[in-house]
Amino acid sequence: MPKRTDIKKILLIGSGPIVIGQACEFDYSGTQACKALREEGFEIVLVNSNPATIMTDPETAPHTYIEPLNVEFLEKIIIKERPDAILPTLGGQTGLNLAVELWEKGILKKYNVEMLGARYEVIKKAEDRKQFKQACQSIGLDLPRSSFAYTLDEAREVVKEIGFPCIIRSSFTLGGTGGSIVYSREDFDVKAQRGIDSSMISEILIEESIEGWKEFELEVMRDNKDNVVIVCAIENIDPMGVHTGDSITVAPAQTLTDREYQQMRDQSLALIREIGVETGGSNIQFAVHPKTGRMVVIEMNPRVSRSSALASKATGFPIAKFAAKLAVGYSLDEIQNDITRETPASFEPAIDYCVTKIPRFTFEKFPEAQDVLGIQMKSVGETMAIGRTFKESLQKGLRGLEIHHIGFDNKTDYRNIEEAKLLQRLREPNASRIFYIKYALQSGMTVDQVVEHTRMDIWFIAQMKQLLDFENEMIAEFAAAKTLSDKTLRQAKEWGFSDPQLAEIMDMSESAVRTLRKQKGIVATFKVVDTCAAEFEAYTPYFYSTYETEDEAILQNEKLTKAQAKGTTRRKIMILGGGPNRIGQGIEFDYCCCHAAFALKERGFETIMVNSNPETVSTDYDTSDRLYFEPLTFEDVMNIMDVEKPDGVIVQFGGQTPLNLARRLKQAGAPIIGTSVDSIDTAENREKFAALMDELKISQPNNATATTVEETAAAALRVGYPVLVRPSYVLGGRAMRIVYDEESLMSFIDEITDVSRGHPILIDKFIEDAMEVDVDAVCDGEQVYVAGIMEHIENAGIHSGDSACVLPPHTLSEEILAEIKEHTRRIALALKVIGLLNIQFAVKGEKVFILEVNPRASRTVPFVSKAIGVPLAKMAARIMAGEKLSGFKLPDIDRLGMVAVKECVLPFSRFSGVDIILGPEMKSTGEVMGMAPTFGAAYAKSQMAANQGLPKKGGVFISVNENDKRSVAFMAKRLHDLGFKLFATKGTAKVLRTSGVMVTLVDKTGEGHNNILTLIQKDEINLVINTPSGKKSQFDMRKIRAAAILRNIPCITTIQGAAAAIHGIEASLKEGFTVESLQSYYQRSSGPEQA
């Protein structure tokens, strides 16, 4: 069936901010869908609240709305744009849930919008556990035993039959929120209640535990002619019981015979047909009993998912792109495989390598949270590695995680681990279990014992044992011969041993290992990911490294050179990506890397992308001219350098990952373009930086650098408490703290020895009650363009990534703005910045202090770019490649027709026991943007978008610290005038009453009806304003905040945040909200200029 001609305009909903369980894979899928549908001539209306996405680039769709993702705003957009259809299956669970809600509220029907891909009934059938169970049973599929419950009493009845351990899953949530494993009666009530609460329809499923079974996932695609293909089978190394997002997974499936695999495939085909997904991709999860082979269906996602992004990258089969084409009428055989160009999409990829995906965790950011994995996802990112063997891909993956492991290595000496701890770390799934397996094997535990404790399949453990055995052989060989034979070295490389691992074994430097093996001709070769195991010629240059005999990258390059007439060879620019997402380094940096590739491709360069993150747009083979899916280590990058010999290398867009490699790459001869490595060093090195600031006569808070504990203490005293302490060369405020005395300083130094790794410790005077300002600028070495000045809502001291900010600034004076601009200009020129520059200032009264300078892409680049309508990263990339600022048409940022607010999104609900207080260490996973004509409305939109919408009426609980008591009275008065009922604890209430504000007094603790926790539970509180007092938050206050988070009540912890919130509430009550596309807004802003 060809393309449908009865629909013209399609609404696509994105997945909103990056949160745990829903990350940039949906930017990848959404962007692919937009591209595919535009190619077919459809008009796309795109909605997403996340500015750091490629999908919200004004070039991706003709109508781009950066608006909160809720029904209220979507209806406004539908009224304005009147789309013919909505494609709900590409925006993650958020997009799907919203489409369901729009249907249920009758909005789709009212405006005659058709649901493509999956109809409402289909989504319900797949997502509603009861209907799903019936569907499975009707086609004879086996399932774990289970029953539903809607109240705690019902749940107690059900569990009597199912027994312990059992699993509680709540219906209609994302990433397993509200789900848990319950081992005993005592825990059951709390967990069951939490599950009921977090379900959109107060429904939980209590299920037979299949913990420890083997887990598999199949990615399935169906077209409107009922053709179905399996794109990929993924096997989890971590057995059932660990969320698949938190599991190390492998593709293809390794331990299924063909008969069992085909059985799984047949069941998947039957299931997608029974559920009725008309077109597009779905993900189906299975569990297999390791001893009996009993196969049960776990769940199905009737949409593109994180696993489908992984499957796309693992096979080269672009699921989202094809899903979009299928949704508008094409069938699989009508779509061509881009990679082979001659075969259709109606096939199943054959792969000739092994893929390992390893999640990246962030427990170090939340020390109070337990590093234990379960069925609720906790990882914040992932890396994928491709190798010819599992051993190679595992080791590549482990070093690609960028957590200071150089492979399946020996970071901890196994002899220092107590047996009890070892056993516990094997039995209880956790972030470092893979390394404990190594330690266990080293300590003499047998493969079978490790299998028994971890319940992982013996196949995987035996492979790991092979690595250890071979490592021991190498150690022995080296001890005997003082060198390793060529054969041994080659085998080591074939099995993924990194140069640093070999350096440890051979007791020499990494570079000596590199030189040695290159002398022996043991060099990496590159193979192509081609969907067909070389059966057809591949045209898409998507490479991975391995140690084999034939190098296809070199062959392709030779062919290219031959094809191009002499002198017309395009110059090559290599862009180093950011690796796995983590808190502090996420989608914003991938966005910048993609922009560099787009801009340079457009300017006639040949672009080469290097990255290891399967979720991203940068690792779409369509983004750059050549894609290398590789870990971002010195060794792996140099291997690519050797083959590609680029004319330029960009390190300033991928966050700290490539920057950390910059100096070594430069020393090894890499032609790094843009700001020099020395300038980057000047900005990062405290002493050099302080000297530069002195020279430029720009004030800095008192500061010092220290390398020892004693020096640090002395320096802190000299600078004067409170001080901000952190190790240098870290991103996202990792291990950064404000300390008020020597005792807390010492305990902090103790904590960070692991992170600082020999880098110096930085000590800054902490300026209390100062406003923080972020600046993003572009410099070509001669001219500086100050693109955005952002005023933070929260005071300095809270990490800029966790702080809301507004652009343009709404309270700063002209004089201060002028001073900030001038400082920015002078610093950029002094550092000879070529490319992007981000500066953080603190403003206290009329005085401007410089906090830090980052001569690289910053987290706010996408936000600023979208607010001012100038793609800064693209511009910077072109400047790095030799263009001048004078060649660009740049808007005057003082004349923006709109206020933009950036708000962050925090993962606290994922980490029980963690307090929600913000500080200098970044904790947010993502961000949203609110745009409106006034600050109040923009702020209110940003809060809605961050899923903490401000109330319009109801009760407000106020409890603030001593410092904030003065300012809170006025705010409370305004809230009261707006019709809110105020509640406060004793101290705050007294202040408010003195100022003549009516307030109800409540208790912090106790069991009475007047207790604040009771009020929260009774839904009488709609907003909490609670600023923590002193250095340590009080226990009761933590409980109050935790209760608010649990019930999704907005909880504001800074007085500045409270002030902004009141602006927002006023705006939503008095002004209401409008929606406007970016394109219309840019036209309006630039209108007068052009006239």
Binding site: K225, D226, N227, V229, I230, A233, P252, A253, Q254, T255, L256, T257, D258, R259, E260, Y261, Q262, R265, D266, H289, P290, K291, T292, G293, L332, D333, E342, T343, P344, S346, F347, E348, P349, A350, I351, D352, Y353, C354, R388, T389, F390, V447, D457, I458, W459, A462, Q463, K465, Q466, K527, C532, A533, A534, E535, F536, E537, E548, T549, E550, E552
Partner: protein, 366 residues
């Protein structure tokens, strides 16, 4: 473990290491792109005379079990992989692949850049090759390989087909009786037919048409098998006599036999189709099946009388003919493997069609 070489007819060498079987073995070198199903591949009689290269690099992961065999022994002349698995894992497995190869005295080599080898075969075509663990001299390897007959013109059927007739019973009630001319039949064809109530009499390829018709079966099945179909002249002649007399269903070599018996010709594909992911379109229904394939030869549809024979299936990758139907007689055949094993079960419906054809024929006959 010994160093080993795979010497190809065009002089190209690929190096690896042998397992426990050493020496020399020659055959036509073909690659198979299936991700799973090595046990079925090894025991598929259609691979007789061939050295099989698996493109998936990790082979032996789930061991060997008693059930997933397609015949009683291993037929490949050699098995070339990137890495053999030492510790297998599967609840049905009872031995490892290496032990299995040893028991069957089949030479297996690993450590080969199988992707480079596959790319070479794709460009240069399937060709003869010789695995040796003793001789690394290209000149003498060349001489040895020259003595090995080429796949074209080679009748391998007689090597693998049954010498004595036997009966494969129906599961449950016997509903139909089918005679299968064995050219190297895969057991899963018999299992599939048995599941549908068919009792199959498997007869040697030398059985005459008269003998087959004397048993008055409901239908005749033409099995898969190895080698060049054109070389199996006696079976072609038998098939020619059977056409129109009984409903006939053919798979793989059976399809080629039918093409040849109907007066057409077959030709050799550059590197054949060996894998589990080939999209085939049923031209009558428009439906696409993902199919299991294993053939080096193909029927030339243009060599057949269009008034009598039509193509009913095509391969969507290279548009080659994947199935034939006679417009007048009860006869159809497919080039691929609806019985799967290894591979997807998408095309199992074809066995149902065979039954429909037999029922219609019986009805007509009254």
């Amino acid at each position: 473990m010994k160093e080993a070489v795979l010497y190809l007819e065009d002089g190209k060498c690929f190096y690896g290491r042998s397992l426990n079987i050493h020496g020399e073995s020659a055959g036509e070198v073909v690659f198979n792109t299936a991700l799973s199903g090595y046990q079925e591949v090894l025991t598929d009689p259609s691979y007789a005379g061939q050295i099989v290269v698996m493109t998936y690099p990790l082979i032996g992961n789930y061991g060997i079990n008693d059930e997933d065999v397609e015949s009683s022994r291993v037929h490949v002349k050699g098995f070339v992989v990137k890495e053999f698995c030492r510790t297998y894992s599967n609840f049905r497995a009872n031995k490892g692949l290496i032990q299995y190869l040893d028991e069957n005295k089949v030479i297996g080599i690993e450590g080969v850049d199988t992707r480079a080898l596959t790319r070479h075969l794709r460009v240069a075509g399937a060709m003869k090759g010789l695995i040796s663990t003793d001789d690394f001299d290209p000149r003498s390897l060349k001489v040895k390989l020259a003595k090995v007959p080429s796949m074209e013109g080679a009748d391998w059927v007689k090597e693998v087909a049954t010498k004595k007739p036997y009966v494969w019973k129906a599961e449950g009630q016997k509903k139909y009786r089918v005679t299968a001319i064995d050219c190297g039949i895969k057991l899963n064809i018999l299992r599939e037919m048995a599941r549908l109530g068919i009792e199959t009499s498997v007869v040697p390829p030398t059985t005459s048409a008269a003998d087959i018709l004397a048993a008055d079966p409901d239908g005749i099945f033409l099995a898969n098998g190895p080698g060049d179909p054109a070389a199996v002249t006696n079976v072609i002649a038998t098939v020619r006599e059977l056409i129109g007399k009984k409903p006939i269903f053919g798979i793989c070599l059976g399809n080629q036999m039918i093409g040849l018996a109907l007066g057409g010709r077959t030709y050799k594909l550059k590197f054949g189709h060996h894998g589990c992911n080939h999209p085939v379109k049923d031209l009558e229904t428009g439906r696409i099946s993902i199919t299991s394939q294993n053939h080096g030869f193909c029927v030339d549809i243009n060599s057949l009388n269009k008034a009598e024979v039509e193509a009913i299936h095509i391969n969507l990758n290279d548009k080659t003919v994947e199935g034939l139907r006679h417009k007048k007689y009860p006869l159809f055949s497919v080039q691929y493997h609806p019985e799967a094993a290894p591979g997807p079960n998408d095309a199992k419906y074809l066995f149902g069609r065979f039954i429909e054809m037999m029922e219609k024929f019986t009805l007509k006959k009254g």
